[in-house]
Amino acid sequence: MPLRRLPALARHVSRTMPWGPLLAGCLAGLVLLAVLAYVADHSRTPLSLAQVRVTFLPALAGLAFVARAPVRPLALAAPAPAWVTPAGQLLLAITVLAVTVAAQLGLVAHTSPPGHALPAIYPLLAQLTGWAALVAAAAAICDRGRYADLGGAVAGPAGLVVIGAGWFTPRVSALLVAPPATDLGATVAWYVITAAALAVTASAQRDPWHRYRLGRRCQRRARGQRRPGPPAPEVS
């Protein structure tokens, strides 16, 4: 794609971006963290990175509404690949999420008492990145499924359930949560998960069809029953 078309694409991506859900989620998380900071100050219990994790969940819920292509059949007919718009929107969303995390960390640092050092944040950043990738993957999968109409309403809770299961399952949490996992080990594990989730997201974004049924048997049956359609009209 020629570079001169990038500004037009950027305008299109930013105009069709679901800013409302994303910003609502990010702001809701920030407001919740501000309330917790007030309560923590009142009860003289300093905030920790755990509160950043919890208050990042609303932003993730907002992200679940981003990875969606509402007029995909139409986009397939356009000259640009159909995945370009959702991919651009995801990139924009990542920027917004990064700003949100930075603001949250700033808030936690601001409320920490003098001399109270926060732990290393690189495992936290890896974890939040992994969570965002999981939610984006869940949203992309839901967008290809039968619950595409509900979009993030299904993908958000589904992503949060996956995150919760990883947090509470003993053997999994031993790998992903530090401690007992080491900071470096947890960071590597989360970036591996991020890479896998992004691969799933990319695969789902490039899939042109809705999958109303799951399982190879159903798909085989569907393929077997497909009748050859009329020849496509030639475009001159």
């Binding site: 409302g20 809701a28 919740l32 923590a40 920790s48 609303p58 509404f65 309403a153």
Partner: protein
Amino acid sequence: MTAAGPRPAAAGTGAAGPDDDRWPDPARRRSTAAGTVASLARVEAGLLTRSVVVLAGLVAGGAMVYHFAIAPTRPAWWAATWQIGYGQQILALAVLVAAQLAAGRARRDKLSELYRSFPATARTRVAAQLLGLAGALPASLVLVGGAAIGLELSGVLGRPGYAAPAAGVLLVIAAGAIGIAVGTRFAHPLAGVLAAVALLVPFSQSNRFTDPFIWLFPWVAPDQLGWVPGQLAGYPPAAAHAVMLAAAAGLAGLVALALTAGRRRFRLGLAVAAAAALAVAGVAGAVQLRPIPAADLARLAAEVADPASVQHCTTTGPVRYCLYPAFRAELPALQAPVRGVLARLPQPPARLLTIRQAAQVDFTDPVLTHGHPAALRARWAREVARAPGSASSSSAIYLIAGRWPASGAGAARFSLALAAAEWAVGLPPTAGAVYGDGRAQCVPLNQAREAVAIWLAIRATGAPASELAPAGPGRQSAVYVGGTPVVIWNYPGEGASYLTSLGPQPTQAGYLLAEAMTQLPARRVSRVLDGAWSTWLNDRTSQARLAAALGIPLPRVPALPGEAGPPPGANPVPSSPVCGP
């Protein structure tokens, strides 16, 4: 499709709404409207009952109850009834999301025009959806019932109360009403998810705040719930909390109705009702913030400081078990590992061993003692600081009340068996050391009786070698004795807070010899031990001598990576004493 689905709920019932002019008779109009609401409510309740979101919430809530109330320790009703609410909280989040999706269905699907053409008005539909929250009751009651069955199967202690489970059910209904209020105003699905997260955050963070206002959160996880050795009235204030949640549910329902109310008179009525609900919530909140009566806290402090004054004691052979009245059912589980040790002793020690429960209640926690004068709180704190369990003892083991697992906890059984075996071989089972302060623990350095004690504990509990295996090379820990590092052995349950204080610090050398002893026929080891029992109990008898008597080589302990000691200029490492006679 679920309650969240796009299908209109009983949209075409054909019944008249309350604002319909076809029924000039007000009485008839009211009865027809009530019939419409009832029939719509039945449909909404059915959709909510079989909603995938609600059913998933039920499963997740059940897992939550198992994780917090059933699995970790032997459950007690006075804590478990409140902990069932942790599962209800998860279910409540799911009901909130499902109810919001249902309430926002018409606008989300851009079918508002179509719905307006139906005889049932928006107010009728909202009223029906509020009544349809009854559809969440089966899931909530199933959760309570399932949890109760699980608790009974785990041998739950005490007797159940009814206020906390009722409050849990009301929490689910209140969350559903909030979901309808949110969905009536905001149709976007994110609104429900955000409201659910806003409900989740206070719950998940409640244990971080030491302030009584946490009772005003929809549900909380108080820190000391599992540590009190019996029912403490007002902790948590379940009845007042149930009233507050009922008022919150009513208030949310009124808000939802107000958002669709058209006539001024009706709005006025809603405002009056909302004011009444607010008043009830305020009164219930104030009741929750009332301090726990000083007499109850004084009694609790006395029970913690002087457990002997309230505990029931049972003597079996040379061992006396003293337990709080509510924990008497734990006696057989405690006796089993100790009996296993006693059965392998050639002769029991002359002095009596006392195994006593000790409660660890923090009286500096404002959630527990708020509202009382600082002097009184300080007095209670001083009183419980003198509680037994923190002083060294050669004939007493102190178990933390409420920490003994329900079943299958090999680590807990091994901890108790090892402490009893240490008593049997003359080592102090209670060193008076708190966790992390290893300096107070003596080290049975190169003492045969250490290996004997570990062997007794392994034989008594049948602990598998895989659970006992020491840390591999490079991951070992050490203590310093006279400036020399000694590789230690961290046994199962050492860091799990089953006992108030640890005994001597086991060494890896002692464990390796004991492990080698378990490879020999038990009869052969018993014959060697029986032959010179008093010699093996002597603190000067070395492990090499015991190994020679058994006819096995003394196992080698892997060397520490930096055995030369701390680098020059580093702070001096505190030295641990060697266990004496």
